[in-house]
């Protein structure tokens, strides 16, 4: 125990003096998340406010064939402007991005309308472009309501109640709370926390094997009357400390950064007060052991510092995989997920941020299973540290 503490203290002092370790633990990890996050939030707020109010300038080919429609669009805040010459030119213009959406009204529009055959109009848009798609949606919904209005007028002319055309009255009730809506976006936060934690311990994890070896200090160290288990435990403990430091700073940074984000304008009120910050720290703590043991393990297979850095950047991404898969498949939180480190922490954090009651069983499973995995990984690290091949 005394030896392990000696190693731990030496690693702490050694790394506090190392600018690179300190920069990645105290600056890179904690600052990166909040900065990127507020950038994304601010951008999306700007976008959503902008597109709702702004008049859409819509190039329309053949305005002269449908003056009523043009007037109608105008009332919907869509201004018809002169567009390309013909259909081919319109498609080319949309393809190159010159216009986002172009409306084409063929010459026979008025005639078809009068003959009561469906009158053709064409919307040219690139559906893969999400920005253009939003404009196209606006145009489509304006046309749809014009369509309904005309239909209503036609049936009235025949003495039928226009309500007959509307057998259903669809009303959507949105039960998501503002906190709930935040969870979608704020779910991203858990990755930033994991990232910050891993960044904080990365250089220490490399140093335990590849770093000591490259510096030539490993052999003298191993020739001392201590067991290798004592050495690696002290080193992993120091890695955990730096990771915890980095994680805590990241949580605090987020707490302050959220104050500067216009989240209310997006209809979000994240539940991220001091209490949640502490709870989140407690939930993520078991993950620290998994992360530090995993990084130490991966680094121990590498031949050099550089190689270790390369492989550890892969480890930085690995914990996102379960989160990503569950998000893409839109899976609801389940008890089984609580056995998976990183995913369980993510789901619990989402619950906290949504201000939903956190299931005590889920917390227990998450903490215990993550700790067990962490202890197992540490044990594997210790086994590998006893190998002769460690000397490279």
């Amino acid at each position: 125990m005394g030896t392990t503490i000696t190693v731990f203290l030496k690693e702490v002092i050694d790394n506090i003096r190392d600018r690179r370790t300190l920069a990645s633990a105290l600056i890179m990890g904690p600052i990166f998340g909040p900065v990127l996050f507020s950038f994304v939030i601010n951008l999306s707020v700007e976008r959503s406010l902008e597109s709702a109010e702004k008049t859409l300038e819509l190039p329309v080919i053949g305005q002269e064939y449908a003056p009523n429609l043009v007037t109608y669009l105008n009332s919907k805040n869509i201004d018809a402007v002169d567009g390309p010459d013909d259909m081919a030119a319109a498609m080319a213009a949309v393809k190159t991005g010159e216009h986002d959406v172009v409306l084409v009204i063929p010459g026979e529009f008025g005639e078809q309308l009068a003959d009561m055959v469906p009158a053709k109009v064409e919307i040219v848009a690139d559906q893969a472009n999400s920005d253009a798609d939003r404009d196209a949606r606006r145009v489509r919904s304006a046309l749809r309501s014009y369509n309904q209005q005309l239909a209503g007028l036609r049936v009235i002319a025949r003495g039928v109640n226009p309500m007959a055309l509307q057998p259903l009255n669809i009303d959507e009730v949105d039960v998501s709370t503002p906190s709930g809506r935040s969870a979608m976006l704020l779910g991203m936060m858990s990755y930033f926390f994991i990232f910050a934690a891993l960044m904080g311990g990365m250089y220490l994890a490399i140093d335990t094997t590849a770093g000591e070896r490259e510096r030539g200090s490993l052999e003298p160290l191993l020739s001392l009357p201590v067991t290798r288990d004592q050495l690696i435990l002290g080193k992993i403990a120091a890695t955990c400390l730096f990771m915890t430091l980095s994680l805590s700073l990241s949580l605090i940074a987020f707490y302050f950064a959220l104050g500067f984000m216009p989240l209310e304008q997006l209809g979000m009120t994240p539940n991220f007060g001091p209490g949640v910050v502490l709870a989140a720290l407690a939930i993520f703590l078991p993950f620290i052991l998994v992360g530090s043991a995993l990084m130490t393990l991966v680094a121990s297979f590498t031949k050099s510092y550089r190689e270790a850095q390369t492989w550890l950047s892969v480890v930085l991404i690995a914990p996102t995989m379960p989160i990503l898969i569950v998000s893409i498949l839109m899976l609801r939180p389940r008890t089984e997920f609580m056995f998976i480190p990183s995913l369980s922490q993510h789901l619990l954090l989402v619950d906290l941020v949504k201000n939903e009651p956190v299931n005590a069983l889920h917390v227990a499973i998450s903490v215990v299973s993550t700790l067990i995995i962490g202890i197992l990984l540490t044990w594997v690290c210790a086994r590998l540290y006893r190998r002769e091949g460690l000397l490279g």
């Binding site: 000696t6 190392d18 200090s217």
Partner: protein, 242 residues
């Protein structure tokens, strides 16, 4: 006291040492001499227990380096080849760290470190971080680190590598002093003159085997060469290449 009895070690297909045996008694300096790649470092690495022999055994003060490796390590101070320091720690902290790991009391450490700093004449840079130290400075600090706990057996792997004349001379004085204290000193080198000037016994290793294990005069006699360098070359040829 170190006893080596028929140790073998292979790395994959490379047979680094094949049946090396020798004794290094207390109060004597034993030189492990051989060309590059002869197996000197492998032998020493087995003795300071970072490698395990495939065959044979070795003991340090009676402790087997495999069965009782922790006890064996307690009796040694080792300076591995190209030993490195922690660049963010001062020379003194580097030495004190090893002293702590060797189990010295906190109260004892300062005193011990002071003594070894004086002995090796590293006071001028003892309080500086070791980042940017010259090879000579690094070797001295590494040596201090290996000797701080006052070990009975001292294993030095090419300690004079990269040292200037002055540093080599002070290293020689330290080794002689350790001998006078009744320590067992085992050191490796590929420079015949250095070994001849210092050692009581010389164990010449070539191709992973012991060619000759004798005093300097004995080696001269058995090889029939008066010049020590000729004797060295002659001895190496006594071992069949694999």
């Amino acid at each position: 006291m170190i006893k080596v009895d028929g140790i073998h070690k292979s790395f994959g297909k490379v047979r680094a040492i094949r049946g090396v045996s020798f004794d290094a008694p207390d109060g004597k300096i034993t030189g492990l001499l051989g060309p590059n790649g002869a197996g000197k470092s492998t032998t020493l690495r087995i003795l300071y227990t970072v490698l395990k022999p495939d065959q044979g055994n070795a003991t340090i003060d009676g402790f087997d380096v495999v069965q009782d490796s922790l006890a064996a390590r307690k009796c040694i101070g080792a300076l591995p080849h190209g030993a490195g320091l922690y660049p963010q720690l001062t020379a003194r902290e580097n030495i004190a760290y090893f002293a702590r790991l060797c189990g010295l009391d906190k109260a004892e450490i300062d005193d011990r470190v002071d003594r070894i700093v004086k002995l090796l004449d590293i006071g001028d840079f003892a309080e500086r971080r070791t980042k940017g130290f010259s090879q000579g400075q690094r070797t001295k600090v590494s040596l201090a680190r290996a000797l701080v706990h006052d070990p009975q057996n001292i294993l030095l792997d090419e300690p004079s590598n990269g040292l200037d004349v002055m540093a080599t001379r002070s290293l020689r004085e330290i080794i002689l002093k350790l001998k006078d204290d009744g320590r067992c000193v085992l050191f490796s080198s590929h420079v015949m003159q250095e070994v001849a000037a210092l050692c009581d016994d010389i164990c010449i290793i070539a191709n992973g085997q012991v060619a000759i294990d004798d005093s300097i005069d004995g080696i001269r006699q058995r090889t029939g060469c008066d010049d020590i360098e000729d004797a060295f070359v002659e001895a190496i040829h006594m071992v069949e290449p694999e």
